[in-house]
Amino acid sequence: MNLANFPFAPPAASNFASEMDTLFYSIFGLSVFFAVVTFFFVVFYAFRYRAGSSADRSSPVYENMKMEVIWIVVPTILAIIFFGWGAKVYADVRIPPKDAKEIYVVGKQWMWHIQHPNGVRENNTLHVPIDTDIKLTMISQDVIHAFYIPAFRVQFMVVPGRYTQMWFRPTQIGTYHLFCNMYCGAQHSEMGGSVIVMSKKDYAEWLANNGSMRQNLTPAQAGEKLFTKIGCANCHGPVDMPPRAPSLAGLYGKTREMTNGQKLLADETYIREAILRPSEAVLKGYDNTMPAYDKQISEDDIMSLIAFIKAGAMPSLPASNLAAGSAGTEAQVKGKAGLNANALEYNAERADATPTERGSSHAVGAMAAEKVDQKR
C-alpha cells in the first residue's frame, strides 16, 4: 500500500480550499492544544494524587472565582474570534460574484443533470474551466440531495421546490469526486461522478463540440460528427463518385450488387460488415480502396454511423476531394442544411418546452424535468 492510497487530506482545487484549510488547521491546532492540556492534567492528577501517594494535599480549593472567570472568558473570546472567521469564510462561499458563469444542476433519484449556458448537457459529470467563477443554480426534482465537491470544499443542498446556489473557482486541472451528500434513497451512494477541471481552451473546445458526452446528441448527430472525424466524409459524399466511393445517401434498405455477383440488402448488418471488413464485399463498379475499420471503432460508434446513414443526408466532400465537378452541389447544401436544421430543432425543443409540455408532474421550473428517464 503506497502513501497515495493513505491520504490524510483531500486535494485542494478551488479558491476556497486554502482559506478553508487554514481555518480548519487553526481550529485543529486549538483543539489539539485544549485536548492535550486538559487531558494531560486529568491523567497527571490521576497519577500525582493517586490514593496513598505522598503528594501535598494541604489547603485544597473548592471554589475559585478567578479561575472560573479565566476559563469562561478565554474560551468565550476564542469562540467569538473563530465564529467571526468562520462566518466570513461562509459569506465568501455563499455570495457568488456577479459575473460568474452560470451552470444549471438538477438532482433526481439518482443522477445529476447538468446544463451548461450554451445548452450542452451532461449527467453525473461537471466540466468546468480553470480560474473561472462558476455559479451553480440547483434544484431537485424529487427528494433533497446535496451537491458536494470535497476537493473544492463546497457543498449545498439541492432542494425540491426552490433554487439554491453555490459557487467556486477551480484552481487545479484534474478530475475530482462529485458526491450526493444527502441521503436520497436506494442508490444514494452511487449518485455521484466527477468534476473535471479543464484549461480554458480545452473547455471552450469541449463546449463547442457540444460536449464530449454522447447523450447530448441524437445517435444520428453523433454519427455525423464521427463520419467526418474518422474520415468517411473524405470519400463518401452526397453523390456517387465511381470508382472511388459510392454515396451513402439513401443507402439503407436498397439492394446492391457486388463485384462477385452477390446481391445484398443494405441493412444494419450489411453496413456494419462494410465498415469493419469492406474488402469482403465490394460494390460493383468501385475499387477495393476502403480501409478496414475492424478493431478500430467501437460498437457504439458503429451504431451512431448506422443511425446517421439511415437518416439519409450526407455531408459534402471537402473541397480538395471534389473530383467530379460540382454535380450534386445543390443536394449537398440542402442535405447539410437539413441536418443542421434538425439538430437546431432538436435543441430548441428541449430548451423551450415548458415542464408541463414535457409531461412533468413536478412542475418546479424550466430545468425541472426530463422527458425520458435516463437510468444508469
Binding site: V42, Y90, V93, D142, V143, P150, H177
Partner: protein, 562 residues
C-alpha cells in the same frame, strides 16, 4: 466543612437489618410488571435498554463489516439502507435518550434527595409501558421489511418517496416521545416537591441538577418532535401538504422542526451523563467537587442555549445566511458551559485522593472522549468548515464521540458506581478496570479514523465507495476498532451478571461515597429509607485525608473479591 465520617451529609438514624429490600419484595412476574417502585422500574428499563443496545450494536457491526470493502461485502444497497436506519433509530430513540435518565435517574434521583419515590409512581410505570410499546412497534417495523429513511426521516423522502415501514416506525417513535415527556415531568415535580428536609437546592447532588435540566428539555422539546413526526405520517397517509413541494409544502420546514427537538435531545443524552461524571469524579477523588455552582448552572445554561442552536444543522440547506450567522454564534457560545464542566471536573481531581476504580476509569475515559467530541464540534459550529464537513463521516465521528461516547461511558461509569447499591453485590473490579480501558481504546480506534474520512470528504450513509478506494484503509481501521469495542461491551454483561450470583455482599457503602443513597441499605428497601432523612450538611463534604484509611478498608473488601 464537616469532617463527620459516619453521616456525612444527612442525619439518618442507623438502619435496622433489612428484612426485605426492593428486589425481594415480591417475586412474581406480576409484582414486577405492576410495580410502582422507581427502583424496580429502573431495573425494567435496564433490561430493555440493554436489549436494544445489543440489537442496535449488532446492526452497527453489520455496517462496519460491510464497509471494509469499497464495493460492499454482504448487503445490497437497499438492505444496507435499512440496516443503518435501524441502527440509528434504535440507538437514538430506544437507547441513548433513555439509558441514563430512565435507568440511573429513575433509580438514584429519589434516593439522592431523600424521597420515597418519584412524584408520580404510576406515571413512571406508564412511561416504561409506553417505552416498551414504542420499542415493540419499531422492532416490528424493522422485522417486517425495515425502514430506509434514516433516523432523521428527512422529508420529502420519508413522507412521499420511501416505500418502507416509515409510518409504523414513526408511530413507535411518537409513542416513545410520551415516555420521555412523562419521565421529564416526573423528575421536575419530584425535585420541586419531594426533597427531604434540609435538602436545599444547593445541597442537591449535581446528578440531580443534571436530571432536572434534562427534564426541562424532555418536557419542552419532545412535543415538538412528536408533532413533526405526526405531520410526516399525515403527509404519507393523507397527502396533506406539509413538507413536500409537490403537494405545496416546504421540505426545509421539517428540518427546522426536527432539529428544534433533536439538537436539545443531544443534551437529553449527555446531560444525565454529566451528572454521573460529577458524582463519580468527586467520590473517587475523595474531594468536594470544584465549582459546584458553576457545574449546576452550566447544566441549566446548556438546557437553555440548547434550544437556540438547531439551525446549525442547516448551514447548507436553504436557510438564510443571516439566520445561519446567529445560529453559529450561539453554538460557539454553547461550547463554553461544556468547557466549564470539564475544567471543573479536572480541578476537582487537583489535590484529591484518587482511587482508580472502574467507575473512575470510565469517568476519565468519558472526559477524554467528550473533549474530542466537544472540540470537534467547533469545526461544525464554524460555518466555514461546516460547509465542507457537514453530512460527511466527520459528523458521524463527532456525534458518536459526543452522544455515544458521552452516554455510554457515563452509563457504564454510573452503572458500575451504583451496581452495588442496586444489587447489593460486588462485581470483579479488576476485570472492570481493564474493560474500561478496552472500551476507551476501542472507541477511539473506531471513530477517530472517521474524522479523517470526513475531512477527506467521504459522505455518511454511503454503501459503496468503489469510486474512491482511498477511503478503504480508514474504514478497515474503524471496523477493527468496532470489533474491539464490541468485546468491551459484551464483557461487562458477563461479570455483572456473574456478580449477581457469586458477588460478595456490597454493604451499604462500598465506595465510601457521600450522598443520601449510600446511607440506606444495599439494595434499598421499597420505601428507600427506614427513617426519613434530614439533611444538615453540604453535599460532597469529603475529607481526602481523614477518610483515606476508611476507604482503603473498603478497597480491601473489593480487592479480596478480585
Amino acid at each position: 466543612m464537616s469532617t463527620t465520617v459516619t453521616t456525612p451529609i444527612g442525619n439518618v438514624e442507623p438502619a435496622p437489618k433489612p428484612r426485605t429490600n426492593y428486589l425481594t419484595n415480591g417475586h412474581t412476574l406480576r409484582s414486577w410488571l405492576l410495580t410502582e417502585d422507581h427502583k424496580r422500574i429502573a431495573i425494567l428499563y435496564l433490561i430493555s435498554v440493554s436489549f436494544f443496545f445489543m440489537l442496535g450494536g449488532s446492526f452497527a457491526g453489520m455496517i462496519r463489516w460491510e464497509l471494509t470493502s469499497p464495493a460492499g461485502n454482504i448487503l445490497e444497497s437497499d438492505a444496507y439502507n435499512r440496516v443503518f436506519t435501524a441502527h440509528g433509530a434504535i440507538m437514538v430513540f430506544l437507547f441513548l435518550l433513555v439509558a441514563v435518565p430512565a435507568v440511573l435517574g429513575n433509580f438514584c434521583l429519589p434516593l439522592m434527595i431523600g424521597a420515597k419515590d418519584l412524584a408520580f409512581p404510576r406515571i413512571n410505570l406508564l412511561s416504561w409501558y409506553l417505552y416498551t410499546a414504542a420499542g415493540t412497534l419499531v422492532l416490528i417495523s424493522v422485522i417486517s421489511g425495515g425502514v430506509d429513511a434514516g433516523w432523521t426521516f428527512y422529508t420529502p423522502y420519508s413522507s412521499l418517496y420511501s416505500n418502507s415501514n416509515v409510518s409504523l416506525c414513526l408511530v413507535g417513535v411518537f409513542i416513545g416521545g410520551f415516555s420521555s415527556i412523562t419521565t421529564g415531568v416526573n423528575f421536575i415535580a419530584t425535585v420541586h416537591r419531594m426533597r427531604a428536609p434540609g435538602m436545599t437546592w444547593f445541597r442537591m447532588p449535581l446528578f440531580v441538577w443534571a436530571h432536572y435540566a434534562t427534564g426541562i428539555i424532555m418536557m419542552l422539546g419532545t412535543p415538538v418532535v412528536a408533532i413533526t413526526l405526526l405531520c410526516v405520517i399525515f403527509e404519507r397517509t393523507f397527502q396533506l401538504p406539509i413538507f413536500s413541494p409537490e403537494l405545496g409544502g416546504d421540505p426545509v420546514l421539517f428540518q427546522h422542526m426536527f432539529w428544534f427537538y433533536s439538537h436539545p435531545a443531544v443534551y437529553i443524552m449527555v446531560l444525565p451523563s454529566f451528572g454521573v461524571i460529577s458524582e463519580v469524579i468527586t467520590a473517587f477523588s475523595r474531594k468536594r467537587v470544584f465549582g459546584y455552582h458553576f457545574i449546576a448552572f452550566s447544566s441549566l445554561a446548556i438546557a437553555f442555549l440548547g434550544f437556540l442552536v438547531w439551525g446549525h444543522h442547516m448551514f447548507v440547506s436553504s436557510q438564510s445566511m443571516y439566520q445561519g450567522v446567529a445560529f453559529s454564534l450561539i453554538t460557539f457560545l454553547l461550547a463554553v458551559p461544556s468547557a466549564i464542566k470539564v475544567f471543573n471536573w479536572t480541578a476537582t481531581m487537583w489535590k484529591g485522593n484518587i482511587h482508580l476504580n472502574s467507575p473512575m476509569i470510565y469517568a476519565i475515559g468519558f472526559m477524554g472522549l467528550f473533549l474530542i467530541g466537544g472540540l470537534t464540534g467547533l469545526f461544525l459550529a464554524c460555518m466555514g468548515t461546516d460547509v465542507h464537513l457537514t453530512a460527511t463521516y466527520f459528523i458521524v465521528a463527532h456525534f458518536h464521540y459526543v452522544m455515544v461516547g458521552g452516554t455510554v461511558m457515563g452509563f457504564l461509569a454510573g452503572l458500575h458506581f451504583w451496581w452495588p447499591k442496586m444489587t447489593g453485590k460486588l462485581f470483579n473490579d479488576n476485570v472492570a478496570r481493564w474493560n474500561a480501558i478496552v472500551v476507551f481504546l476501542g472507541f477511539n480506534l473506531t471513530f477517530f479514523p472517521q474524522f479523517i474520512l470526513g475531512w477527506l470528504g467521504m459522505p455518511r450513509r454511503y454503501h459503496y465507495y468503489y469510486f474512491a478506494p482511498e477511503y478503504q484503509p480508514f474504514n478497515i481501521m474503524s471496523t477493527l476498532g468496532a470489533t474491539v469495542l464490541g468485546v468491551g461491551f459484551i464483557v461487562p454483561v458477563f461479570y455483572l451478571i456473574t456478580s449477581l450470583f457469586k458477588g460478595k455482599p456490597a454493604g451499604d457503602n462500598p465506595w465510601g461515597a457521600h450522598g443520601l443513597e449510600w446511607q440506606t441499605t444495599s439494595p434499598p428497601p421499597t420505601e428507600n429509607f427506614y427513617y426519613d432523612p434530614i439533611v444538615t450538611d453540604d453535599v460532597y463534604d469529603y475529607d481526602p485525608v481523614a477518610e483515606h484509611e476508611q476507604f482503603l478498608e473498603k478497597q480491601r473488601q473489593l480487592g479480596a473479591h478480585a
